[in-house]
Amino acid sequence: MLSALLLMLGIGALCGIILSLSSKVFYVYEDPKIALVENNLAGANCGGCGYAGCSAAAEAIVNGTEPPSLCIVSNKEGVEKVAEIMGVDAGSAESPLSYNMCEGGNRASDKYHYMGITSCKAMGVVFGGKRVCGVGCIGLGDCVKACKFDAVYMGPDGHPVVIDEKCVGCGACQQSCPKNIIEVKTLSEKLMKFNQKQDPLAPCAQTCPAEINIPRYINQLKEGKYKEAVETIRLRNPLPLACGRVCPHPCESECRRGIEDDAVSINQLKRFVADYEMNSGSRLPIKCAPDTGKKIAVVGGGPSGLSCAFFLRRIGHKVDIFEAMPKLGGMLRYGIPEYRLPKKVLDWEVGGILDLGINAFTHVKFGKDFGLGSLMASGYNAVFLGVGAWEDYSLGIEGENLNGCYTGINFLQRISSGEKLKLGRIAAVVGGGNTAVDCARTLLRFGLDKVYMVYRRTRKEMPANEVEIVASEEEGIEFVFLAAPVKVVGNSEDKVTHLEYLKMELGEPDASGRRRPQPIEGSETLLEVDMVISAIGQSPDASFKEQDPLPRMTELELTRWNTIDNNPETLQASIPYIFTAGDAATGPSLVVDAIGGGRRAARSIDLFLKGEEVEPVVDSLQQKRIHESLFASVDGIKKSERAKMPEIHVNQRLDSFIEVDLVLPEENAKKEADRCLNCCRICYNPDFPISK
């Protein structure tokens, strides 16, 4: 008996001593907050938050990887207590919301007829969910069943609808979805989402350089939800008013209706909802994530800079814009004439962006008035360079400095700034791009007798937007095709009198696929003009590199086109804290390219500021197409007329700078929205049922 007692006592004491010793020896510091936080969680160990038990959840909260509202069971008081322990405001943590990615159109009902299977998960396992679409919503409502807060219901079209007010962002629906259609995302995550290869994307949305969810906003327009449509656009594009006017809409050339019929007039619809907001007299509130305390300098207030600043601000960073010109807008203001994009509209749009709390400093030129060193010294954590491409290429021919010669962007910019230039009576604009057309149409509006456009190839090869070419034809611009200027002829007072050009003929196609023009020997011809504008392309003005006194600046690498060299996927330049997009990085390109680039740069800057590796988006699409979504023919299309763009009559145009293109009337916009097939990756809503 005694020995038994002694033995048990001995074993017990030994175990106790070893354990107490080892608890000292193997002591691992644990934040006392973890225990405090855990006491305030529900203690149900339910795993609803996605962590194995409440202590793991508490640890995640204390480590800052999860917000105080992580626990899906605890009530408001509990959340507030946790927030108090953590020393943060309960409301300030960015709360994620459930978000349905699949549009589904009205197709869910006719897409799926399952025999006896009642859950998406089972369907996903048995058939891979691949009845019609490999990535689309299965529509059996696992997410609805998974939601403990009644925040998800099965919508009338057969795919889930999320009630934002009820959603607590617990992620139960996301875990239950076998197709990753419903995702729980914070606003920042939504703003920084880029097209990926496995996404449910319609061809138009794959093509848009800004990656706007086009089918979604057209559908919202159709349902009369104009505000929601604007919000959808603003997730990707901060400048819908400007884009709605000047975008050459590459999306429309991929429109699935366009295969059998005229493409949907996507851009006009964008303009319609954007104008609707402006004309409604009040701005829609733009949501921003809580402040992060990081500060970024955006150099250049053009489309890429505005876009980058807009998205950085929305994900919670502090942004200051530095602009060399007197006002923000870049090429939108100084390169695009009033009759295409009225300054009033641009002012309204830029105002909305600045209202988010972005500071703008104008009249300060990078390299001259401030430099990289002064930005770093002022505590900016990263720099975005969106200085654009403002330097015109010169023709490189004799006499191009004569009195009466101008260069394209320089000319447009001086006109836009309100400078009074001495204009002639007959002008020749050299070049075939948008800048050249803008110059020519601007000159006409100043009442010149005759405006020639001199281009060395033919109309077919002109890089300008088709609508612009048509409009300039209507307005009476005379085209001189297959002509290469060789000399500007002047009189004794150095005043331009003639433009001498060589006639050309088209030869073999060159690298760009366009046929290379070749001069015809001895075909010199004189064109009588008293003004020559050369608009044959631009390159960035990289003079800041030499002007900046900071030695580090020499590390910034430029390409041979004078653009700033960057990683094409992350847009990070050769100096790690510099990011660049827009014309400064790509050379002259579209506004919408600059907008998309600005957002992409914002993502990289965000990663950089968080101290993470600046890596490209995984499986990034970047305007590449998803092969299976491109059709050769489309069934079930009934031809219908595309909405005509209303415009003011030619007679009214020529003596004024009022806007030529008008916005669609509401009725026509809705009719045009009805033409949209609401495509997704491989499905769409046909006009009439297709029998199979």
């Binding site: 020995s3 033995l7 048990m8 074993i11 354990l19 080892s22 193997f26 998960k121």
Partner: protein, 190 residues
Amino acid sequence: MEYFEIFIAGVFINNILLAQFLGNCPFLGTSKKMETAVGMAMAVVFVLVMAGMITWMVNEFLLVKFELDYLKTVSFILVIASLVQFVEMFLKKSIPALYAGLGIFLPLITTNCAVMGACLLNISKEYSFLSALVSSFSYAVGFGLALILFAGVRERINLARVPKPLQDTSIGLVTAGIIALTFMSFKGMV
């Protein structure tokens, strides 16, 4: 050859879950998801081998020596519980990666009857130290095998339409019974 026989017997013939019906609680509790099942299986292998060694030594050097065999059960409980606590602390400090992997499963097995049962079986069969080690390991492997098999089956059952009264644990027990029946066919192999 002897060790091989012990191993085969431990894994298949005397499978701790399906032939001896020990440790039914974690068998049903942690078999809903493959991921958890694998974590649990790893933890059991780890703990059971450790416990098998320690309890053998406690038995040989303390209980037998002082003729206190009747204290086997109570002293084993004490020793195993302390051992698991100790291992948990040790892992947390020294091998955080393994600790994160085994995580919450370690304390779950503190007083698991499968562990306890295997240790007592080792003693009652009067194994040598090495045999006890092999047998502990094989019981643990058998536990893991059964658990992972069962988790796979249950994941598929989740997708099927099960009558309401039979859902979840009920159908789990029915299935466990059928799997146990199939394991009966190993009887008499060795």
